[in-house]
C-alpha cells in the first residue's frame, strides 16, 4: 500500500507546481460562475415559482461546482496514461513490481486534487462574499455537510474509475477519441454539469440519476445545496458505491486482459 501512497504524493507534488495554470483556471471559473448565475437569474426573475430549485440552492450548486471543477470534470483526462496505452509504452510500467490499475488510480486521484487544491479556496472565499441569493452559503446541517464531504470522495472515485475504464478500453481501440468525446458529452448532460438535473424533464432526470454519470457531481452538489432530502441521501450514496464497484471491476479486468495482450503482441 505504501508504494501507491508514495506515488500519490509524488503526483500531487508534481501537479502543485503549475502556478500559472491554477491562476488562469481560477479566474476562468470565477467568470464562468458569474455568467451562469446571471443567466439563471434572468429566468428566475421572470418566473420564480416555476424554478425547480431555489435561487440560493442554485447559487450554492454553481459555486461549489466551479470551486471543485477539476475534481468533477470528466474531461480532465490523464493524457500521459492514454498516450502510453495508445503507443504500447505502457508495457514498460511492467518493469516495476507494481499493479498498474492501482497506480493509475493513485495518479488519477492525485492529479485531480493537485489541479484543484490551489484554486478551490479563493473561489470559495470570493463566492462567500457575494450577497444572497447569488453568493455561496452553507444551507444544510453539519450532519448533511458531513455526508456531502463523503459523497465528494465517492464522486472522485466514480469519476476516476470511469476514466480508468476508458484507458483500459484504449487497449482494444486504435484511437480512444470517439469514446472520450461521447463520454464527456454524456457526463455533461446526465451528470448535471451543464444544467443541474432538477431542470431536466422528469423522465430524463430519473434516467440520468441511475447512470454512472448521475453518480458524479450531481450527488455532492445537490446534497450541498439542500436539494436532496436527508432520507434520500443513503440511497443515492449507495448507488455511488455500486457504480464504483462496477466500474472498478470492469476496468480492472479489462486492464489485466489488455496488458496480457500487449505482452503477447509486443509493445
Amino acid at each position: 500500500m505504501k508504494k501507491y501512497w508514495s506515488f500519490f504524493k509524488m503526483r500531487l507534488m508534481a501537479g502543485l507546481q503549475y502556478r500559472a495554470a491554477a491562476l488562469a483556471g481560477m479566474s476562468t471559473q470565477f467568470i464562468w460562475g458569474t455568467m451562469e448565475i446571471l443567466l439563471y437569474r434572468a429566468f428566475w426573475l421572470e418566473h420564480p415559482e416555476r424554478f425547480p430549485m431555489g435561487m440560493e440552492s442554485l447559487s450554492a450548486y454553481i459555486w461549489v461546482q466551479q470551486a471543485f471543477l477539476t475534481l468533477f470534470a470528466l474531461w480532465n483526462w490523464d493524457f500521459e496514461v492514454l498516450e502510453s496505452v495508445k503507443t504500447g509504452s505502457v508495457s514498460y510500467e511492467l518493469l516495476r513490481p507494481t499493479d498498474i490499475y492501482s497506480i493509475w488510480m493513485a495518479r488519477s486521484i492525485a492529479g485531480r486534487l493537485a489541479r484543484g487544491i490551489l484554486r478551490m479556496v479563493p473561489v470559495i472565499v470570493v463566492a462567500g462574499l457575494i450577497p444572497a441569493p447569488y453568493g455561496l452559503r452553507l444551507r444544510v446541517s453539519p450532519a448533511v455537510f458531513g455526508l456531502f464531504v463523503l459523497s465528494m470522495a465517492l464522486m472522485v472515485l466514480v469519476v476516476c474509475a470511469y476514466t480508468l475504464l476508458v484507458y483500459a478500453l484504449t487497449f482494444y481501440l486504435t484511437d480512444p477519441n470517439g469514446l472520450m468525446v461521447v463520454s464527456v458529452a454524456a457526463a455533461d448532460l446526465l451528470g448535471g454539469a451543464v444544467v443541474p438535473l432538477p431542470f431536466l424533464p422528469e423522465g430524463l432526470r430519473r434516467f440520468a440519476e441511475l447512470t454512472p454519470f448521475g453518480s458524479m457531481q450531481n450527488v455532492p452538489l445537490r446534497i450541498f445545496s439542500g436539494d436532496i432530502p436527508m432520507t434520500d441521501i443513503p440511497g443515492v450514496m449507495g448507488l455511488q458505491v455500486f457504480w464504483i464497484a462496477a466500474l472498478v471491476l470492469a476496468g480492472y479486468a479489462l486492464t489485466r486482459n489488455g496488458l496480457r495482450r500487449a505482452v503477447i503482441l509486443g509493445g
Binding site: 505504501k2 508504494k3 501512497w5 508514495s6 506515488f7 509524488m10 507534488m13 508534481a14 507546481q17 509504452s89 508495457s91 514498460y92 511492467l94 518493469l95 516495476r96 513490481p97 507494481t98 505482452v263 503477447i264 503482441l265 509486443g266 509493445g267
Partner: protein
C-alpha cells in the same frame, strides 16, 4: 544466472497495399504478415558477467531484452533468470532487476531527481539504511551531488543518463539490462558511464547485459559478445575472437561491419 533456451517470437503485422480500394477492402478482411523476430534463441549468462549483445537494427535485440524483462511473452521456449520465468513471476522477477533504456526515461520529468529516487525506494520497498548506503555509493561513483536536487528536465543528456543508471540500481538488483546506455553521450560522459559499469560489476558482482551499436562500449566493457541477426544467434565469443574472425588489422567497429556483411544481415 540467465538462461534462454529455444526462445521464439513472431510478430503479427497488419499489411495492405496503398489506395482507397484496398483501404475499403481491409475493413472487411485484414491481411496479416508474420514477422519472425527471434528464432530458437539459446544462450546462458553466468552470474557476474558483462555480456555485449550486438546486431544491426531489427535483429531482435530489443525483443530479447523485453522477453528477459518480463514485458513480452515469447511464443515458445524456456527462459529463466535466477530461477524465475520473467513473464510468469513478473513482480518477483522485476524486483531483482534493473533496466535502463537509453531512449526512455524512468525519472519524473518535473520534480527533482531525489524525489524520483524516493518513489523508487518505496516502490521496491528498499529499507532506509540500505537505500541510504546505495544512494551514497552511487552519488560518489556517478558524481551526482547537486544533480539530485535538479528537476530531470533541466539535466543535460549525460547528467540524466547518470541519474537513470543510479535509478536502476537503488534497489541493488543482481541483474542489470542496459539498452544503448551511451547513445547520444559526449566522450566524457561515455567514459564516465563505462567506468561506472565496470566498477559496479567489480564491487557488487552485478550481471550486466548490454546492447549497443557503439563498439567502443564493447571493447571497454564486455568479456563476451553475442552477435545476432535476423532473429538468430550468429556468434558467441569474446571480443578478440570477433577480431580474429575478421581481418587482423581491423578495429572492432570494422570487424563487426565485416561480420554483418559476411552473415548477410
Amino acid at each position: 544466472m540467465i538462461e534462454m533456451k529455444g526462445i521464439c517470437k513472431t510478430y503479427r503485422v497488419r499489411r495492405r497495399e496503398a489506395g482507397l480500394g484496398n483501404a475499403l477492402k481491409s475493413l472487411f478482411s485484414r491481411e496479416y504478415a508474420e514477422v519472425p523476430a527471434l528464432q530458437d534463441m539459446t544462450f546462458t549468462v553466468p552470474d557476474g558477467q558483462i555480456l555485449g549483445y550486438i546486431g544491426p537494427n531489427g535483429a531482435g535485440k530489443s525483443t530479447t531484452i523485453k522477453i528477459l524483462s518480463g514485458i513480452l511473452r515469447p511464443d515458445g521456449g524456456v527462459c529463466t533468470v535466477d530461477g524465475l520465468t520473467p513473464w510468469e513471476d513478473r513482480k518477483r522477477h522485476v524486483a531483482r532487476l534493473g533496466v535502463v533504456f537509453g531512449q526512455r526515461s524512468q525519472l519524473w520529468w518535473d520534480v527533482p531527481v531525489t524525489e524520483s529516487f524516493g518513489l523508487l525506494r518505496d516502490i521496491y520497498r528498499v529499507p532506509e539504511p540500505v537505500f541510504r548506503e546505495n544512494l551514497d555509493r552511487l552519488t560518489v561513483l556517478l558524481d551526482l551531488g547537486e544533480l539530485l536536487k535538479t528537476p530531470a528536465r533541466m539535466l543535460s543528456l549525460g547528467q540524466r543518463m547518470r541519474c537513470e543508471i543510479a535509478a536502476a540500481l537503488l534497489h541493488g538488483p543482481k541483474v542489470l539490462f542496459l539498452d544503448e546506455p551511451t547513445i547520444g553521450l559526449d566522450a566524457v560522459s561515455k567514459l564516465k558511464v563505462r567506468e561506472f559499469i565496470l566498477e559496479q560489476n567489480r564491487l557488487c558482482h552485478t550481471t550486466v547485459l548490454l546492447t549497443t551499436h557503439d563498439m567502443q562500449d564493447i571493447d571497454a566493457l564486455c568479456s563476451r559478445v553475442l552477435l545476432i541477426g535476423k532473429g538468430r544467434l550468429l556468434l558467441d565469443g569474446d571480443t578478440a575472437r570477433i577480431r580474429t574472425m575478421a581481418g587482423e588489422n581491423l578495429s572492432t567497429e570494422e570487424s563487426v561491419a565485416d561480420l554483418y556483411r559476411r552473415f548477410g544481415i
